[in-house]
Symmetry: C2
Subunit: 339 residues, 2 copies
């Protein structure tokens, strides 16, 4: 059966539509007698407001959309939890979508009639979208970007300092006395990528310690997944001069590396120390537990939502801001050991 509308309730209660609306929303003063009649009719008809109509009238939906490449990458799942919480604090429901890390899916978001129009704002963690594509989109929903990707100043944008994070991770390995430090996760073929910033940080740390940069120790990976980490670690150990430490560009690569090393009979951290970035919970329980650099996901989420809400609600849209979130080094078993 059709849902009851304000009109149905009004005719049943013998009042005007407007009065029913007032009762439902608690707007204007309504006499007790009428209110009672209306409320009876409301429950009898099991009325519930049509939010689409309300949204149309009010020009907003109260919903934000968070788009990440892959939800089953724990970092994004943990981030999503934080963003959902931050959204709630600002009175917005956050719905999450993923693009499967598929460029065409990412571009779909920018389409004329993307479903995103239904949302008041968009928090996007892009993987392959270029700044230009984003600027030229046929879609004016307010956007805040996550991650180090594209910062040409057109959009507000929240991220940790990836160069510093990578430097900290590498420096930590160096502080253990390791000298042949490998890196897994470079992506030299993309522009503006997180990966390249992390490579820069890695090299800075080497340089600062006076260690040589050996390109053979830097393994690119197409994506940041466990399996690729395992493969890369195995390949590294097969080198004539294998490394004594590995910096992985994220924790998932590191989890794979731990596994690959173990299968190769390499002891961690005794033979090879391993560190990642992301601070996912999984690394706390692995064997050995994983040292990592933890981005402050709470802070990232809060800053992103605050920026977005400012864009949405602000009379004068604030200038696009580049916001830095904090990160912390978290040493665990995978880098245990005296200097």
């Amino acid at each position: 059966m059709r849902d009851a509308t304000l009109r149905d309730v009004a005719s049943r209660a013998g009042v005007s539509i407007r009065t029913v609306s007032n009762v439902v929303n608690g707007y204007a003063p309504v006499s007790d007698a009428l209110r009672a009649k209306v409320e009876t009719a409301l429950t009898e008809l099991d009325y519930r407001p049509n939010l689409i109509a309300r949204n149309l009238k009010q020009g907003r939906s109260g919903m934000l959309c968070l788009v990440v490449p892959e939800l089953d990458v724990p970092y994004f799942a943990e981030l999503a939890r934080a963003v959902i919480a931050a959204g709630r604090r600002h009175g917005y429901a956050v719905m999450v979508d993923q693009t499967d890390a598929d460029p065409s899916r990412e571009r779909e978001l920018l389409t004329r009639n993307s479903r995103l129009t239904l949302f008041d704002g968009l928090i996007l963690s892009p993987l392959t979208l270029s700044a230009q594509e984003l600027r030229e989109r046929g879609n004016k929903t307010p956007v805040v970007l996550l991650g180090e990707h594209l910062f040409d100043g057109s959009f507000s944008h929240v991220a940790i300092d990836n160069v510093a994070a990578a430097r900290d991770a590498t420096a930590h390995l160096i502080s253990l006395g390791r000298t042949r430090i490998a890196a897994i996760g470079d992506q030299p073929y993309r522009t503006g990528e997180t990966a390249q910033l992390r490579t820069a940080g890695y090299r800075q740390a080497l340089e600062h310690a006076g260690l040589p940069y050996d390109p053979a120790l830097v393994r690119p990976t197409e994506r940041f997944h466990r399996r690729l980490g395992a493969t890369a670690a195995t390949a590294l150990m097969a080198l004539p001069h294998p490394p004594d430490a590995i910096f992985c560009y994220n924790d998932l690569l590191a989890m794979g590396a731990l596994r690959g090393l173990r299968s190769a009979g390499v002891r961690v951290p005794d033979d090879v120390a391993v560190i990642g970035i992301d601070g996912i919970e999984e690394g706390e329980f692995s064997t050995p537990s994983l040292s990592t650099v933890v981005p402050d996901k709470q802070q990232i989420a809060t800053l992103a939502v605050e920026s977005l809400v400012a864009l949405i609600e602000g009379g004068t849209p604030p200038a696009p801001a580049e916001v830095r979130a904090a990160h912390t080094l978290l040493p665990r078993e995978s880098t245990l050991g005296a200097i």
Copy 2:
């Protein structure tokens, strides 16, 4: 600036609103001359349709909502990916929300003016909601339930056979020659829970093998998280007669158990064999890798979306169906060893 509407485009192109709408949607035949004029105006004004208005008129949004307790529980993240894919195949965008496993958040979904009205349908994996609460909700969006929770016949519902899954897992441990088999994850205080079905399967397997049931070996846990698995495993090993195998009610508990055992100096699988349920990718890369019972997430997602779409689009709503998805035993290192 205000977004351009059909009216704006129409007045600029000197045609009727209706004609612009026809051009945008490719509905009626439009002469080339007019079409060109309209399309010029469309691009000049950067028109994009207001989906809220369209949805209001058409009475549908083309979006489904998937609600899970916690996105950072890998099983749910992996399931979400499958549901999103299945939704796309049917022409729906799937947006994901989580309740933080918070009963009040779950109940919020059923509220009069829950944001869910914006969606054409709801796929819900409830944690604490009772069947009655669901039936009495003030919200008529079509629903399909996931997981073994509440099957009083009011709703369509997709799940694996949890009793059989637990039986298979336990039987696998027994087939290794283990005789003191513990269980982590019972939840005796809730009604109709997945956990209780798994306990039933566990006991069936013991009984079938003629093994005694020892309540001391069954550890309840409030939730299915790594830390609780670690704690429970540690406690089990402190018993006067510790177990030689542990069946964990999900993989996350098992990951915690592996870690707890390792910290206690227990070797897996030599001293204690471990198995979980869920088939999360994390278990493939842990040390040791985790034996598990894998629910067919693709199938669960496909069946759930198909049921929901049938509810939404079907002229005659099909009767609520109970659908069983397949599961498979996947032995890995954590249960390696001769019988």
